[in-house]
Point group: C2
């Protein structure tokens, strides 16, 4: 396997060995308690794995034997750790369950196939045996897409693709790479870099997620402004299905009917298991430049991004924090530090230039050859000036880039202190974006107050625009709230429902890059329409007639 | 109706009033006869419409009454001209049939709905009555996609969308326009231009084709290098289906499962009728520059295009003719003209610089703001120089642009002289492109000789690369051949089959922008795979359970 599962937290984010001192920073927690309107934060440690019981595996001896004959005994795993590790994804909701010791969705076995043929054989067998199959890449889903629930079946197996991580071909003429689906981000980028290329797909989960997962949930990385989303860089994919292999895409331009790439993109394992993919790659950029700007308010920052994208200013990323996020990170960074003369001077300059508590920070990233980077930066500089923004230089941009994958590590120490944190995201046309922003922010603020553990407690709700398109942009909300310990799942559900209802009512998609899984199921029929859902069901029936693949995800029950 | 059908040729291309003097240019026909290895060309006039009998309409009085109740009596047409006009598309194969008087696929009635609700009602009624429905935009399909064949049903109606041509909204903030599907190219561009925008979709059929048709056959216009293909500019679409309205797409970025835009894109009317679409639009470019280059051979020209596209040189079009096409158009342009001192000097310069009969002309187009145009042009100039190409200036580029929609008018006078002409196109990765080019060219040359009317007769086979992508490019073949008059359909089928087999054997798609229709059906299962075809059948069954929509197109019979 390309990554040692025992070195990753089974009930939290990232490497077990990761150390950042956050948990011990008492000043930080005191400050955060005040932000949340709480007198103090409570210790809420997770249960140890050794103390958690998991029901015995439900796989019949016959089924276990058949699966073992396909992948070999050492690749059929049903020990305590493997089952716990694969029980759930990595959403806030998942963490609540894992930390409390609810591993009721532990798979009955975890299988590690080494080839597409083995996956195909597993699917045939599972289909015949009536065993649910949960495809699993890096397992970082935050919408419940890898929860190993058996649905209507007696048992569920997780098919972990991490043993399938071969780089099959890097075609430097056509700028495409063909790889197995289980390859992790860092391994892929290392192999591509050796040939002078990059995919440029850097989701926050980059270190712990796989190519197959990026495709199956239709992902967008932090640099998608420059390198595109999964649907932009996916050239073709092979899916193993209970009815055989399905190849989709494969031509640089084709009008030979529907291209069917959507059978892979966003399919979340319900139609088949992505076993192999061909990806469009680009030369490693010769130069890069990440820098920060301060805009007067969210609307003017959004307008600058819109103008930049619509006029084709070459960029890799334009990321605008709203006033709350800007303020929060500034305050967070200042916790426990003495304010010096430089800080006071900076405050003075800002205030003299008329920046107030509506100010919004924007990180702009430019990558490419030196001329393109210079052009992009100069053009965006001019756009920012037009909107009376202040250029803050490269320091903050570089710091963002250095810490681009660290965000999720913040969650576990919060979980230890009775603090909940979750994110949700949407996208809409520029015309609808501000109303959507106001509505979702309002819904989160209100729902958090209403579901708070005590009077006066409140949330910290932040938002940024991280992905922009000529016709619209995404909104990414982070919300931090004091947990109501005796009704944690209900609290989260109330907040999530309020925000999702607001998204649906204001023309946003229920997900810009997280996917549907189980968490977004209640809103998917509204978004796709009843007939759209019928189409998804028809496709599923054609490829997975017994319905063994990832039951309960993506497609609402009839 | 937005376009007067009586002013368009019912059995050929374009405006009936179009005059270009080609038919009377005897020197041209003498030259062409020699090119084809024929002693002379025969007169092969088309049968007049008045002399052609069409079987009486097969629509039952009950059906006719129901349809009339929906759209009104003046919009249910079954006169001789309307039925003849809508019997077939505009492929070479179609023209053979129309000119010979075979109108066996004339629809039993032509209906002109005025709204999506009317289309929906028509589909409900047709589904109940068991009447085939052929959706029709501009009718310029060259693959048989609008042939009004009833399939397993007793009668077929053509639903002509040209009465639905409203511009619903032009959103200049989000850069999107929502229009009805029946709007023609020129009307769309006129409405957009009034607001300072363009779609930039300019297929050769631009004047005579509709937005709905562009979407349904997944089109690519001549300027797709700058403005994208249908799948790039389509934001969302509404389809009327026998089971109701299906909306697909609609979010600038969404990972909420499969986006289902392929239910519209390339669907060729078999899943539903596109009634409305939202399109990404861009500001009208401030500047443009079209110019020509001469490359030493096809391979170096292709390499320059590849480099330009992969390095992101901004361009609207890069169009490389192969040596045969370059030579043909040069000779064609010189027919009947005296060669003067300037021509001899030009020949001398070319020969001194080492350009021989392998030389290939390239037209490059750049559009955008002045700086982008200048940058694109300078960058492509440098790339061309690297490959030892010669810059030929703007004259030839401007001439290409001025005549960009005139090509199809050449066909009718050829048809009058016993000459056949057809085009076919494909696309593949850069790695496969040259082998594909050689194979298809060889297959066409051989098949034309083998199927020729006499010993020594031959074809003129030309090719150009007209659309390029980072991972590959299209090949567009034009082949001109002397018709074997007593077995014309067999001759065409033999040539088409040989070329299509070569495409399939060398990794090309069976169509880059023409679509599937009926003509490419034999190769579609090879391209999509049996399981891919099953998926298409499942989608069709979900939306059109009775199978009334465009029978016999896109999806091979079971």
């Amino acid at each position: 396997m390309s990554i040692d599962r025992t070195k990753i937290k089974w009930n939290g984010w990232g490497w077990t060995a990761h150390q950042d001192g956050l948990a011990q920073n008492e000043a930080l927690w005191t400050w955060l308690a005040a932000e949340l309107g709480m007198p103090a934060l409570l210790a809420t440690p997770a249960r140890g794995l050794e103390s958690i019981a998991i029901a015995p595996p439900q796989l019949s001896p016959e089924a276990r034997e058949k699966f073992t004959a396909i992948v070999g005994a050492d690749r059929v795993r049903d020990d305590h750790y493997e089952r716990a590790f694969h029980a759930l994804g990595r959403s806030y909701h998942d963490l609540l369950r894992m930390r409390s010791g609810d591993l009721s969705t532990a798979p009955d076995a975890v299988l590690y196939p080494r080839s597409a043929d083995e996956v195909l054989a597993l699917l045939h067998a599972a289909s015949e045996l009536g065993v649910a199959v949960v495809p699993y890449g890096g397992g970082t889903s935050v919408v419940g897409a890898v929860t190993a629930a058996p649905g209507a079946f007696k048992a569920a197996i997780t098919v972990d693709l991490s043993g399938m991580d071969r780089i099959i071909e890097i075609d430097t003429v056509s700028h495409i790479a063909t790889v197995e689906a289980g390859v992790y981000g860092p391994a892929l980028e290392k192999a591509l870099k050796a040939k002078g290329f990059t995919l440029g797909h850097f989701p926050q989960s980059f270190e712990f997620s796989t190519v197959g997962g990026w495709i199956a949930h239709r992902g967008a990385g932090q640099s998608s402004g420059g390198y595109g989303r999964a649907e932009d860089w996916l050239v073709s994919a092979k899916l193993a299905t209970p009815r055989g292999v399905l190849s989709v895409g494969g031509f640089p331009g084709s009008s030979a009917g529907p291209q069917l790439k959507d059978i892979a993109l966003g399919s979340e394992g319900v139609f088949g298991v992505v076993t192999e993919a061909t990806l469009r790659i680009v030369p490693v950029p010769a130069a890069d430049d990440y820098r920060a700007y301060l805009f007067r308010d969210f609307q003017s920052g959004a307008a600058a991004i819109r103008e930049a994208v619509q006029s084709g200013i070459p960029h890799t990323m334009l990321r605008l924090s709203d006033a709350a996020e800007t303020r929060f990170y500034r305050a967070y960074g200042a916790v426990g530090k003495r304010r010096g003369a430089r800080d006071r001077l900076a405050d003075l300059v800002l205030s003299q230039r008329g920046f107030d508590d509506k100010a919004c920070a924007l990180i702009a990233g430019f990558e490419g050859d030196a001329a393109t980077v210079a052009k992009g930066r100069a053009a965006f500089d001019a756009t920012a000036r037009k909107y009376k923004a202040m250029a803050l230089g490269q320091g903050q941009g570089q710091r963002w880039k250095d810490g681009r994958f660290h965000g999720p590590y913040l969650r576990d120490p919060m979980m230890e202190r009775g603090v909940g944190v979750d994110t949700l995201e949407t996208a809409a046309s520029w015309t609808k974006l501000n109303d959507l922003y106001v509505a979702v922010r309002g819904a989160l603020d209100t729902a958090i107050r209403e579901a708070a553990p005590r009077e006066g407690a409140q949330g910290v709700v932040q938002c940024h625009i991280s992905h922009a398109y000529p016709d619209g942009a995404s909104l990414y909300f982070t919300y931090i709230f004091p947990r109501a310990l005796e009704r944690e799942v209900g609290q989260w559900t109330a907040i999530k429902t309020a925000a999702s209802d607001a998204i649906a009512a204001h023309g946003g998609t229920i997900s810009h890059h997280h996917g549907v899984g189980t968490d977004h199921l209640p809103w998917i029929a509204g978004e796709k329409g009843a007939l759209g859902i019928d189409v998804l069901r028809a496709v599923k029936m054609a490829l997975d007639p017994k319905g063994v693949l990832n039951p309960g995800k993506l497609i609402p029950p009839v």
